[in-house]
């Protein structure tokens, strides 16, 4: 004889247990996400700051190889040399510095100090012959020192920053000559071998162009394929075979598509290497099955009663499809497309194979120019030894994540806004 009371209690308990399992799974997933985001943000946020050191620069005509008695024209200033101006000004920071120590001081600044000194005099020609304070970009190592990311406690021979450099730096720092500002160059510069100058402009534009090419190639092809397969193709062995193969295509590892891009697009058609054009076409091979599957699913979700209604009104099959079925399926198709593109955006392997891994220090102006892409940029920087690139990797991941989140948000909005409810 079963005790009904106990039986019921048991059921309540197992129900509660089940809910608890579900909640713990969600908590666990959120925890992983939080750890991941915390790690990325805590290492990455400093990359959005850049360290500057202000030092007196001696615009002595002698060091610029110009005539001291005559005010130089802008063109003269443009043409003259600034290396010695820099070196002499560095030497002035420590009267007793020897040759090696001056070189050490020089290495405290980004190698573009010449251009920064030149830029200042070009915008302030009146400073010719004077000693004025100029803001120079700090080297990536000192940038890290200033941000507190540098292990100063290591013995000197294991550090890239010498004790002498630290001494000079600490002195300047105590005088309030060191500051950090928002790092605009991270967004406007292309990649660079120097961490303090490296930016994501090239890879961001590369990713953007790749995605646009990918969209332009894959969306129309996928939509037409999906419409034909779902609405017109007879249901027979051949269409079953095609369907299975589209699903297979979706499961092919992306690196294989990279090889295809390399072997066909570059080798046979001779398209330009390392360009978003080739990258986009290669990625579109990947997104194609994703979009076809999403489009077919949302075409299938349109109630047959709508098709019947249109057909019974005397609409042809094409009219039924174009006037009713496709517009109704579009929200699902579009959000599937955006999710496919978001996948493509994060793809690295195929782009490495078609040469988008090359070091590109120019910003692409069109899909035909060589470019990197955000995930490949992460890969390139993650391989670099300099400490300054560590935070850059995290910052680049942040930019990529924000890009992805925005795309998914758009997908969600598209679905929400255009989804029609029927009965």
């Amino acid at each position: 004889m079963i005790n009904r009371e106990e039986f019921l209690n048991k059921r309540y308990k197992s129900e509660k247990r089940f809910q608890f399992y579900g909640k713990s799974a969600i908590v666990l997933a959120l925890l992983f996400l939080a750890i991941f985001l915390f790690k990325i943000f805590s290492t990455g946020y400093t990359a959005f700051q850049k360290t500057w050191i202000t030092i007196p620069i001696n615009y002595d005509p002698e060091f610029m190889y110009l005539d001291a008695d005559q005010k130089p024209s802008i063109q003269d200033l443009e043409d003259s040399e600034y290396f010695d101006v820099g070196i002499e000004s560095f030497a002035a920071l420590d009267q007793n510095a020897n040759e090696d120590q001056i070189t050490d001081i020089k290495r405290m600044f980004a190698f573009i100090f010449e251009e920064e000194i030149k830029y200042h005099i070009l915008s302030n020609p009146d400073d010719f012959g004077k000693i004025v304070e100029v803001k120079l970009t700090a080297s990536d190592d000192l940038d890290q020192v200033f941000k507190g990311n540098y292990p100063r406690e290591l013995p000197e021979e294991r550090r890239r920053v010498t004790d002498y450099q630290l001494k000079i730096f600490d002195k300047l720092s105590a005088e309030g000559k060191v500051e950090s500002n928002f790092n605009f160059s991270f967004f406007t510069n292309a990649d660079s071998r120097e961490a303090e100058l490296a930016g994501i402009a090239s890879s961001f534009m590369g990713s953007l162009f790749s995605i646009l090419v990918c969209l332009a190639v894959s969306f129309p092809v996928a939509l037409l394929a999906a419409i034909y397969l779902e609405e017109f193709a007879p249901k027979n062995r051949l269409t079953d075979f095609i369907e299975v193969n589209i699903n297979n295509l979706a499961a092919v590892p992306s690196i294989v598509f990279g090889l295809l891009g390399l072997g066909v697009l570059l080798a046979v058609f001779g398209l330009p290497r390392s360009t978003p054009l080739v990258g986009g076409i290669t990625l579109s091979l990947m997104t194609l099955p994703t979009i076809i599957i999403a489009a077919r699913a949302s075409l299938k979700a349109v109630p047959p009663s709508i098709r019947e209604a249109a057909l019974a009104m005397g609409a042809s099959r094409m009219q039924t499809t174009l006037h009713h079925t496709v517009p109704l399926s579009l929200p699902g198709t579009l959000s599937g497309t955006i999710i496919g593109l978001a996948q493509a955006l994060g793809e690295t392997a195929p782009l490495i194979l078609i040469g988008m891994v090359a070091f590109v220090n120019t910003i692409p102006g069109s899909p035909m120019d060589p470019a990197a892409s955000l995930p490949v940029q992460i890969y390139i920087w993650a391989e670099s030894a300099e400490r300054g690139f560590v935070e850059k990797v995290s910052a680049c991941i942040m930019v990529l994540l924000i890009f992805l989140v925005l795309m998914n948000l758009v997908a969600q909005m598209v679905r929400h806004k255009f989804e029609k409810k029927w009965n």
């Binding site: 009663s305 709508i306 005397g314 029609k420 009965n423």
Partner: protein, 251 residues
């Protein structure tokens, strides 16, 4: 006068035969009801009349179906023209998820029936009036058709069907999803429509068949057991099976 003549119609779904040698005449400007238990083939027969079975890949229709003495069950028939002449109303109201206006104007537009916007407006108004819906919706023609109540939606579907001035209207259990008041409105409407259109209606409700139709056909297991005037079928059927079904002894 016979509007539709079906001769030796056999329908197969793949291997399975759904209709067996149906011979049936349908009178012009009358209401013909098709009754019978579920799965007896009455809807299948109805869908033969406007070739809606073409949509189903495995469905094969044999035999002759003459409308205005022209056999529509042949390859050469243009189904677009056919469905312009033979409208259909479905079991579940299925307005397009568009505005009320667009629901009605769609048919006339794709068949090029209106020369101008005014003419199209007129067709929409006439169709809604004939479907006894005009007064309820005339102020909100730009609202979605799916926002109406079930009964209104079904009348909208009827208005949509009559917008292209079909000669025949096929109705597949048009009231099965509606409440009694909406049902009564549709039945009144059917009475009105038969002045201009030939109507064939599939129904599960025998009282409805008795109320609205002049002719009734009784289907059972894919066979047309008996066809005749509604009076005769309900009061004095020739077949024992018909008698049993009418009196509720099976079904």
């Amino acid at each position: 006068m016979n509007k539709i003549e079906a001769k030796n119609v056999n329908v197969f779904y793949g291997e399975k035969q759904a209709l067996f040698d149906i011979n049936m005449d349908i009178q012009e400007k009358q209401v013909t009801a098709l009754i019978g238990p579920s799965g007896c083939g009455k809807s299948t027969f109805l869908r033969c009349l406007n070739r809606m079975n073409d949509v189903i890949d495995i469905c094969k229709v044999e035999g002759e179906i003459k409308i205005n003495d022209y056999n529509i069950n042949q390859k050469a028939t243009d189904v677009v023209r056919l469905r312009e002449k033979i409208g259909m109303v479905f079991q579940k109201p299925n307005p397009f998820p568009k505005t009320l206006y667009e629901n009605i104007s769609y048919g006339p537009e794709i068949h090029g029936m209106a020369q101008s916007k005014d003419e199209l407006d007129q067709i929409v108004e006439d169709s809604l009036k004939k479907a006894a819906l005009w007064n309820e919706v005339k102020d909100r023609l730009n609202e979605p058709g799916t926002g109406l109540s079930g009964g209104q939606q079904q009348r909208l579907c009827i208005a949509r069907a009559i917008s292209v001035k079909p000669e025949v209207i096929l109705m597949d259990e048009p009231c099965s999803a509606l409440d009694p008041i909406a049902t009564a409105q549709i039945e009144e409407l059917i009475d009105e429509l038969k002045k201009e259109h030939t109507i064939v209606i599939v129904t599960h409700s025998m009282s409805q068949a008795a109320r609205v139709s002049q002719q009734t056909g009784f289907f059972h297991l894919g066979k047309l057991i008996e066809v005749g005037s509604t009076d005769m079928i309900f009061k004095n059927p020739n077949q024992q099976q018909t008698q049993d079904y009418i009196t509720g002894r099976f079904g």
